[in-house]
Symmetry: none
Subunit: 189 residues, 4 copies
DNA sequence: CACTAAACGAGACGGTACGTCCCGTCTTGAA
DNA sequence: TTCAAGACGGGACGTACCGTCTCGTTTAGTG
């Protein structure tokens, strides 16, 4: 029962994602996702033998990957540390705001989120920190500031502001630049 | 259909919480929670007409409140800013580590968490920042540092470290003190 | 999960019977029978926890009972041995000919029948023989003929002619009387 | 789509028969029978385009033929009427008792049988009667007894006793001889 | 002191979705 | 060409819950 057709798997993931975007997680049945993908229910279980649970898990993982891939695409050609962070923050904020699934889920199942106390964020932190490291290495830092610690610090702050901008309007490039300068880099450079 | 018996409502919430702690969210049925509470299924719907959804929502809200209540109990009699943050970090870290439900859910349904991009954290941030404000007002701050901004900054960092301690061992009071001094308060005081 | 409602059970049996009459055994699903009975599929399994298999078995048993009940009604007030057998043969033949389910099954699933080699017939034989016994006891028998053996013999012949009339037209009272006289009772009285 | 390989067809029938003997009709899938025959499922549908239904029907027909062929082999060299009937009854009784499929089906799906009211038996009756006819023609009959009628009568009795021996032990040659003499031939010779 | 009203247990029922099994069709590739 | 291998759509199965409803039984509270 091997998965012969990678493209079909992708189509199923996309279809499931669309269903969640429309109706939320709880109201998305395997049947819904199947017909959205133009596929029989049996095939769903052929590709995801773990059933609904595995399917949802795969969709989350898939979308998580897509999100950071796009984030990477948006910032990878930046030349300075400031530019990376600014563009990253702006893109992430816009992406989150426009993210269909997140917005639907926030409305229909808010209790599923808000669990910032998770351990998953550790991975994400390292991902971001790792990405920022080379930029920090080519940047002049204040005396006594270690690159690794600075990267960790920046990752935490970026992740925090991505989810909760607070008083800053991340759609405004000027404000973002100001935020990066006075809040994020102030203690480092 | 008024809820005559507040104590019974509490018992139901507690029972549901216990079930989730044992079997995870997905594997907890209304029936399970009912018999755990020593109550008929009909009564569940009398107290939570919204059904399973409302019940789960209520449990999350209830446990969220309990968590921060205990956190408050753990730190409210601290006298200095450093002490508040240190005790808060240590308590929160221990509480999360020992939190039955979180640990079960992390094992059985990890995809439900990890959504740090949430908007829920905004509320939590304000809660923490608001709590820290009076301590900051009675603390000597570096020139140019505004209390509101400092509180926001501290709240973000505290929340970040609560979920992902990184290289710090939050069970070790010495390390916590060090973390607070060099990472959290360094740019403020 | 006791069966509280005997009438509902009856309704389900009747509905299932009707479905079989229309579409045959193989093409009758639990769903079909359920909607025919105006009942949900879940209820089907509440009344017949053994599922489709138990349901079909119950229908056969039920209809078997009904058939012989009606046969009994048709002959129980006969006064002579000849009359009992004649009326029984004529009723049974007509009933079989008009029996919706049998005719449908004969057309759609003939391989299900024809298994005359069954052991079930033993019970039926005894049933018929037992019913005929009192009539034989009040009838003058040829010398050396034992009632029990005569009853068994008659039961066998009656059952045989019910299913396969051969050259006799069992719709014609005259022929039936002739059959009974020259074939069935010839060796006995 | 012609059936190129008669031997393969036979193998499939035999394999299917074996499966039914092991697990009953309902629990025998086309897949089971295919792998028992060492054949792919696709081939099953080449040989039996009507699918499972046609396959089962063919197996019944095939086994029906085999049964009467063996019955014929067991009695065809008998010389007297009594011998034919005695040997036939004894063989049939033993064959039925030892018949794997019948015994399995009787245990797992008794409701499939017991339908003695079938029309199929008409054919079988004629078969048996036809076979007995020459023996009757060479036998001295009581006055007024017509061969055709006697053959029909004997066929009915034989078929009846094959399925339901009643008080006779058909494994005992003495009893069988007695049965044939006093019950079957008494009214004829 | 009955009499009523509410809370609650018990459970039948319709309904939805689950995961599984099997059927019958079709395509592909190897002998 | 024949066959094995297997992906796929489709349909039914039996199970598990859900949410609604109706009973009957306490348990109070009131006229």
């Amino acid at each position: 029962m091997a998965i012969a057709n990678e493209e079909l798997r992708e189509r199923i993931l996309h279809a499931t994602y669309d269903c969640i975007a429309r109706w939320g997680v709880a109201r998305t049945s395997v049947e819904d996702a199947a017909s959205e993908a133009g596929v029989s229910r049996a095939t769903m279980y052929r590709y995801f033998p773990g059933g609904r649970e595995q399917l949802l898990h795969a969709v989350v993982e898939w979308e998580y990957g897509r999100f950071f891939q796009r984030l990477y695409d948006a910032v990878h050609d930046a030349s300075t540390l400031e530019e990376v962070i600014e563009r990253g923050l702006r893109y992430a904020h816009r992406a989150i705001a426009e993210h269909e699934v997140l917005q639907v889920v926030l409305k229909t199942e808010p209790e599923l989120l808000g669990v910032t106390l998770s351990g998953e964020s550790a991975t994400t932190l390292e991902l971001i920190a790792g990405f920022l490291t080379p930029y920090l290495e080519h940047h002049e830092l204040r005396d006594g500031v270690v690159v690794a610690e600075a990267a960790d610090y920046l990752a935490r702050m970026v992740l925090s502001y991505m989810g909760a901008p607070g008083r800053w309007d991340l759609d405004d490039p000027v404000q973002v630049a100001e935020l990066v300068r006075v809040e994020l880099l102030a203690g480092i450079v």
